[in-house]
């Protein structure tokens, strides 16, 4: 059902006006009908009462008394009967008289019948009720009963209401009544009512028609306006209202038409404006689209950087490719979630209060913070958070740009570690390490250099490096020149001076320092403090000298033992022979002269042998100090062979000598070189002693020319012993290395030889193969390569000596 407010104006008018017309009309009709009704009814009742009262009066007048007993004389009664019976009320109404016992006294048809117990159509004893009511009245006034009655005599089927009014005549105990059908009494009333009703309906219909017509008349133009305006609203702007009234609606129609014209005009302007605006809109839309695409591209193509936008509650609004990659969340999963889900920190503390205030104040918040991936993995990120504001400057959210810096941090740490590592290497070096820039200003020194120079880094860095060179700037220039030429150098000997002026012998290596592009940015130098080494070297030289001395003493001991052996044999032989001769003489035994001479000769041989040995011992003792002179190498060689000759013979060593006749001289010490040869020969003998046969020792001496030098003298000793295993080949010149049994050798022999030969600017070479013997070559530089000149010199000398 429609709401009243949705009704048409016409209906609303009808709704308002119709009651105004209808309600008074109905009220009027009702009032008129009731008034008429009651008037008619009263009239009818008065008629009945009038009949009753008239009869009552008649009866009362006719009363006579006899013995105080009232009665109506019969004559009178018949008169009354005649009167009563003549009375007809309405169409069928009539009066009657009945006594207290229900006997009809006067009735048009049923005189003398008792109807006390007659019943109405409802079954009530209405006569009895009437008599009772009548007696209750005691003769004063009239009463009334109403009852439904079917008049069977008239062949009625349905009951009609009957009204009976009555009065009690107490003197006789009669009830005087008059009855009639209500319909007969109210017949007129019903007709009047009908007429009024018909009139009312007619008037109502007429009035309603009028009202509708009036409403129509009023709303018709409005409807037309409405209709037109709706059509105009649909675009038919050329329509005009055709209402020619002078009233308000006419005014409205005029205004409407004017307005329509204006709208038509405006619309025309508007259309062109709209066209223009639409064009502009399209353009700006295109522009927006381009910017939006650009922004999306920026967001999505940034895979290294996570770009996250959130609202003011830190709920994620945007989550770009980088963020997805870094945090492992899909966009759909994280959108609407809180940003702190990507933080290790809890919701309450992932943004500190101060940070928050900073953001609010419009500052960017930069922080390195632990973050959490979707799978819970934790990493370090560097995040920049800014507040996002709209055009009015109101805070609308936050924007975070961050990246995973775990790797970078790791690299940073690695770099720091590497740097620390390198620095600790540099710092732990006992050698001084310096870097300088191209001007020679010190840019770095390590602790080693601090210690060498007894100075502090802070004082050294920034100073010019030449300040610490004993020769100052000249040394620096020299070093720089070498570096420019060779890029680097090693083992350059120089002297530094510390602030107290103490001189420090330095062995330095340096190279140019280049950056990764290969540009020279300075120099780096390593300075080895040689003070201690120099001191040690001196001590070593001293120790070596004493070692040589002690080795010499040992050699001497060996020699003495050997000499003792050599001497004891002839000594014993001669002692024994002398004893024999003496015995023979003492016992005067037959002793031929021949025998004695033979014995004495033998004794003489013994003495010769002893003399030779002793003589050689003398030579050995003289050669203790190094005295270099131009020397014929054959002198120490022959001497050594002389000493060892007997021994080699004793050991069945077959010695082959292959000596070159004329050799240039060498600078050297005969006794030292003799020791070298002795050593080598005795080693050869020891080696050969390891086998019982094939004991050969080949000794050669020869000259070898060498380009640009006076050439070399070579003395080689080749034995046919077991050879030297390759693994000890290079050890045999080491001091104290020995293959001999304890007590047999000191292990110093060959090392001393090596030292001695080195001092002669020569070298010892060794060729050996297992099972094929060994060859030691003593190679010494000749003084002059010119053999002839040598010869001439020799000749000259001879001349002088001769």
């Amino acid at each position: 059902m429609k709401k009243i407010s949705d009704w048409t104006i016409q209906n609303k008018l009808i709704l308002v006006i119709a009651p105004l017309v209808i309600i008074p009309l109905i009220l009027l009709a009702y009032f008129a009908t009731t008034q008429l009704n009651s008037a008619l009814k009263n009239g009818a009742e008065k008629d009945l009462d009038h009949v009753v009262n008239t009869i009552y009066a008649l009866c009362e007048i006719s009363l006579s008394s006899e013995n105080n007993k009232p009665f109506i004389p019969l004559t009178q009664l018949s008169k009354i009967k005649k009167v009563v019976k003549d009375i007809i009320i309405g169409e069928t109404g009539y009066p009657f008289i009945i006594d207290e016992k229900g006997n009809l006294i006067i009735h048009p048809t049923k005189e003398n019948e008792n109807i006390l117990y007659s019943q109405d159509s409802k079954g009530d004893y209405f006569i009895n009720e009437m008599i009772y009511k009548a007696i209750s009245l005691r003769g004063e006034g009239t009463g009334e009963i109403r009852y439904p009655w079917i008049n069977k005599e008239l062949g009625e089927k349905s009951p009609r209401m009957k009204i009976t009014r009555f009065r009690y005549l107490s003197q006789l105990g009669w009830v005087i009544a008059a009855g009639s059908y209500e319909g007969e009494i109210f017949g007129a009333v019903g007709r009047t009512q009908k007429a009024v009703f018909i009139l009312t309906i007619f008037t109502l219909t007429l009035m309603l028609a009028l009202v509708v017509f009036f409403a129509r008349f009023l709303t018709e133009p409005i409807l037309e306006l409405t209709h037109l305006s709706s059509r105009m609203a649909e675009g038919e702007l050329s329509l005009r209202v055709a209402i020619h009234q002078k009233d308000e609606i006419g005014q409205l129609a005029l205004s409407f038409n004017r307005m329509a014209a204006q709208i038509q005009e405006h619309t025309k302007n508007l259309e062109s404006l709209v066209k223009q605006r639409t064009q502009e809109l399209l353009e700006s839309k295109e522009k927006y689209k381009r910017i939006s695409t650009l922004l999306t591209n920026v967001l999505e193509s940034s895979t290294e950087y996570a770009i996250i936008a959130t609202d003011l509650q830190w709920k994620v609004l945007e989550f770009n490719t980088g963020a997805r990659k870094i945090f492992g969340w899909e966009k759909e999963e994280i959108l609407g979630e809180y940003l702190y889900k990507t933080y290790v920190e809890k919701k309450e503390s992932f943004i500190e209060w101060e940070e928050f205030s900073k953001l609010q104040a419009g500052n960017a918040l930069e922080k390195e913070v632990m973050r959490k991936e979707k799978n819970g993995e934790v990493f370090l990120s560097r995040a920049v958070i800014t507040a996002m504001r709209d055009m009015e400057g109101d805070l609308i959210g936050y924007l975070e740009i961050s990246r995973d810096i775990t790797e970078r941090k790791r690299l940073e740490w690695e770099l720091i570690e590497t740097k620390d590592y390198l620095e600790s290497i540099l710092e732990s070096s006992a050698d001084g390490i310096i870097t300088t820039n191209q001007k020679g200003t010190i840019t770095y020194v390590n602790r080693g250099l601090e210690e060498i120079l007894h100075d502090k880094k802070e004082r050294l860095i920034g100073s010019h490096v030449s300040l610490f060179y004993l020769d100052g700037i000249a040394e620096a220039r020299k070093i720089m020149n070498i570096l420019r030429r060779d890029q680097k150098f090693t083992n350059y000997e120089m002297t530094m001076a510390d602030k107290s002026g103490r001189e420090i012998p330095i062995n330095t290596s340096a190279s140019l320092l280049k950056n990764f592009k290969g540009e020279i940015i300075g120099t780096v130098g390593i300075f080895k403090d040689m003070t201690e080494k120099k001191r040690l070297e001196a001590a070593l030289r001293k120790a070596e000298a004493s070692l040589i001395q002690s080795a010499k003493m040992r050699e001497l001991g060996d020699l003495v033992a050997g000499v003792a052996h050599e001497i004891n044999n002839p000594l014993m032989a001669s002692q024994t022979l002398i004893f024999r001769i003496k015995e023979d003489y003492q016992q005067q035994k037959n002793c031929s002269h021949k025998k004695i001479i033979e014995f004495v000769d033998l004794i003489g041989r013994c003495n010769d042998r002893i003399a030779t040995i002793v003589n050689h011992l003398g030579e050995f003792s003289r050669g203790s100090e190094m005295k270099f002179e131009a020397l014929d190498i054959m002198i120490p060689l022959n001497n050594s062979l002389l000493i060892t000759g007997q021994m080699l013979l004793d050991h069945q060593v077959e010695v082959t000598k292959d000596f070159s006749g004329d050799l240039p001289k060498v600078m050297g010490s005969a006794s030292q070189l003799e020791q070298v040869f002795l050593n080598i020969i005795s080693n050869a003998r020891d080696a050969l002693d390891m086998q019982h046969s094939n004991k050969e020792l080949i000794i050669r001496s020869f000259y070898r020319a060498k380009n640009g030098t006076p050439g070399e003298i070579i003395i080689s000793f080749t034995d046919t012993g077991p050879g030297i295993p390759p693994e000890i080949k290079y050890k045999i010149f080491d001091p104290f290395f020995s293959t001999k049994a304890v007590g047999r050798g000191t292990g110093l022999g060959l090392s001393l030889c090596f030292g001695i030969v080195e001092k002669h600017a020569g070298r010892i070479e060794l060729d050996s193969e297992i099972g094929k013997g060994a060859t030691f070559r003593v190679i010494l530089p000749a003084i002059s390569s010119n053999l002839n000149l040598n010869k001439e010199e020799k000749n000259g000398k001879e001349d002088i000596s001769s």
Partner: protein
Amino acid sequence: MAKKILVVDDDDLVLIALEALLSPSGYDVTTANNGDDALEKLNKKKFDLMILDILMPGMNGFELCGKIRELDEYKAVPIIMLTAKSGIEDKKKGMEMGANLFLPKPIAPQHLIDLIKKSLE
């Protein structure tokens, strides 16, 4: 019957001198100037005493002494070792190899004769 003595030394002078010393004293002296020579001569004759030099080329006195002691008939024959060296180590080694006496060179000839005589008793 004269006692047979074998003298082994690489030095001819020593051999001649010892032979000259011992022969007049009534010993049958045989000389050898190396170990192999000595072992050969041991097979030909039964000696009653041996004088061995230590420092000899080839087989030295100790080795020779050891080899002699391996021979059944020389297990108890007195062996005197003579040496120009006189280290205690050498003496010990000589005794280990079965030598009875270890004497230094040079030794007084009379003393040697006395010791030989004593050893042969």
